[in-house]
């Protein structure tokens, strides 16, 4: 267990970025994710791997630094929390429009406005329905453990470069601040400049050498060309849905009732499932690991099996809309969730399931 460590989610993410062979990190401190840049600064990755770490003057500058490094084929990451992500959205839209690979991390806190520094999942819409301006989507990974905070960094880079698109890791204050046992990957060597030029020379702006010039832009003033560009993006998103959907089913085989939850809520809901089963309620959990793409088909199928679905999130009801869209009114769907930085307990979730979904009490007599 040489590389088995007890780390905060934020620290594990930072360490994983170094080990994934990231070339650069640009960020700006904000609670509850400041440990990411603090950890990176303390680790001196410039010495360890040559990775550049820079504290930018704002989230806006940070995301545009990401844009700059990404435009040259470098593996680059930034992280922030909700208000900071709002500031980054212009840059994120540009990254999507210019088709640049990058990893963005949101350790969500409660909003709107300055809100609270406590955990929340109120940025679901912002994350999966675009957020910034224009017709684009982000590939969104939702870690539910410190281990996944670490593992998803390399996964996110892989997806980002596979599709030349920005990838969002949607965490929250709970997963970011908590410590768990984490097994870290071995160090992946950073790509050399020569390899980057070789591998991404068809698009990256690394200097016009032995080829035509490369241009990175999201601008097309001719509507026909811009339409084609947008359509090409949509093709990419379709491919993501076909090839890179991720989800986890927990005790769904015999489930009569279903909870859908991601990230921290999925962890809490898992305990609610356990408590429910102890009471004789056959309840299962579907955990979307990617929020876009979303496990629509899986939910559609599960709706034939279960009598009702409870969507659980730390907000006033956002993902529940996707659950409803997926199940086509086959079964009742309800939302439950605390918000504003309050966290629901497993007991509260179970109670909500019983009150909102298992109304007739039929299964209690099983």
């Amino acid at each position: 267990m040489s590389d088995l460590k007890l780390m905060k989610g934020n620290e594990a993410l930072a360490e994983a970025a170094i080990r994934a062979g990231a070339d650069a990190y640009f960020g700006y401190p904000i609670t509850p994710q400041s440990e990411v840049i603090e950890y990176l600064m303390a680790e001196c990755p410039e010495k360890r791997t040559g990775m550049v770490v820079l504290q930018a003057e704002s989230e806006i500058a940070a995301i545009n630094m990401v844009y700059g490094a990404a435009s040259t084929g470098k593996r680059v990451m930034t992280s922030s929390s909700s208000p900071g992500i709002s500031l980054k959205l212009e840059g994120i839209s540009y990254l999507a429009g210019a088709e640049l690979p990058a990893v963005i991390v949101n350790v969500v806190r409660g909003g709107p406005g300055l809100g609270t520094i406590q955990p929340s999942q109120a940025d679901y819409f912002q994350s999966v329905k675009g957020g910034g301006h224009g017709d684009y989507k982000l590939y969104v990974l939702a870690p539910a453990s410190v281990q996944e905070m670490a593992d998803f960094v390399a996964d996110a880079f892989e997806i980002a470069f596979k599709y030349r698109a920005p990838v969002l890791i949607l965490s929250d204050g709970m997963i970011g601040q908590m410590m768990e046992k984490v097994e870290l990957n071995d160090q992946v060597e950073r790509m050399s400049d020569e390899d980057i030029i070789q591998k991404y020379g068809s698009w990256a702006t690394t200097g016009k050498k032995g080829r035509e010039r490369n241009i990175i832009t999201s601008l097309d003033l001719q509507p026909e060309k811009m339409e084609a560009r947008v359509q090409a993006l949509q093709k990419k998103y379709e491919r993501m849905e076909n090839e890179d959907l991720r989800y986890e089913k927990i005790q769904c085989d015999d489930a009569e009732f279903l909870i859908v939850a991601y990230g921290s809520s999925a962890r809490i809901a898992q305990k609610a499932v356990q408590l429910g089963r102890e009471k004789g309620i056959k309840v299962g959990l579907l955990r979307p690991i990617t929020l876009f793409p979303y496990p629509k088909q899986q939910l559609f199928k599960l709706a034939d099996q279960v009598k009702g679905i409870l969507s659980v999130e730390l907000n006033t009801g956002q993902m529940v809309e996707d659950v409803k869209l997926s199940v086509h009114h086959k079964v009742p769907v309800a939302h439950f969730g605390r918000t504003g930085g309050s966290i629901h307990t497993p007991e509260e979730i179970l109670e909500a399931l019983e009150e909102n979904i298992i109304k007739d009490g039929s299964i209690r007599h099983h």
Binding site: M1, T31, P32, M174, M178, M179, T345, P346
Partner: protein
């Protein structure tokens, strides 16, 4: 085995680090662990608490409503967490500064005078290790050697000279855990 613990007190009492040492000891013994703190400005001067879970199985929720054990180090935390101990569970507290002592009949209540003992030892910083010793006396879920190993791993090297002192503090805590309910408080004799 699954042990769900809340440790709560003032910021600066070493609440979070006590939880960290406990969690790290669990990692050393190859257990599943989670450490979920309250965070933010409330840590500075206000109350701080951390939920620590050690288990032989994958941990589901790191955030809980009820706990097997509550370690309580100030009155505010007593007000908030006495009621969150599961029936038959354990409440350990330092009576220093406590005006409303716990009253529940359906849980086991213990005192460890961490503050007084740390003062006597001449180093108030090991207060949290004395309390941890008290906890380990009643709930020996990790070995003392694992705790020492955890201290080595989580303390910066320049503070490794303090490990013997921390070990002594844990031992003192183990020897000075008293059952709250007994009229004549006596050291708990636990195998």
């Amino acid at each position: 085995m699954t042990e769900e613990i809340i440790i709560a007190g003032f910021g600066g009492q070493g609440v979070l680090s006590m939880g960290k040492i406990l969690a790290y000891s669990g990692v050393i013994q190859d257990k599943e662990v989670s450490w979920m703190p309250s965070y933010g400005p409330e840590m500075r001067g206000g109350t701080a608490n951390v939920t620590v879970i050690l288990s032989d199985e994958r941990i589901s929720s790191p955030y809980l409503k009820l706990y097997d054990t509550a370690i309580i180090l100030n009155q505010q935390s007593m007000d908030k967490f006495e009621k969150t101990v599961k029936k038959g569970g354990v409440l350990i507290y330092d009576p220093n500064g406590i005006t409303q002592h716990p009253t529940r009949q359906d849980i086991k209540i213990y005192q460890v005078e961490g503050y007084r003992l740390a003062s006597e030892l001449g180093n108030k910083k090991v207060f949290n290790m004395i309390v941890l010793g008290g906890f380990l006396k009643i709930k020996p879920i990790v070995h003392l050697e694992s705790v020492i190993e955890a201290l080595k791993k989580s303390l910066p090297e320049r503070h490794h000279n303090l490990i013997p002192l921390n070990k002594e503090a844990i031992t003192i805590g183990m020897q000075n855990l008293f059952s709250h309910k007994l009229e004549h408080q006596s050291a708990v004799n636990h195998s």
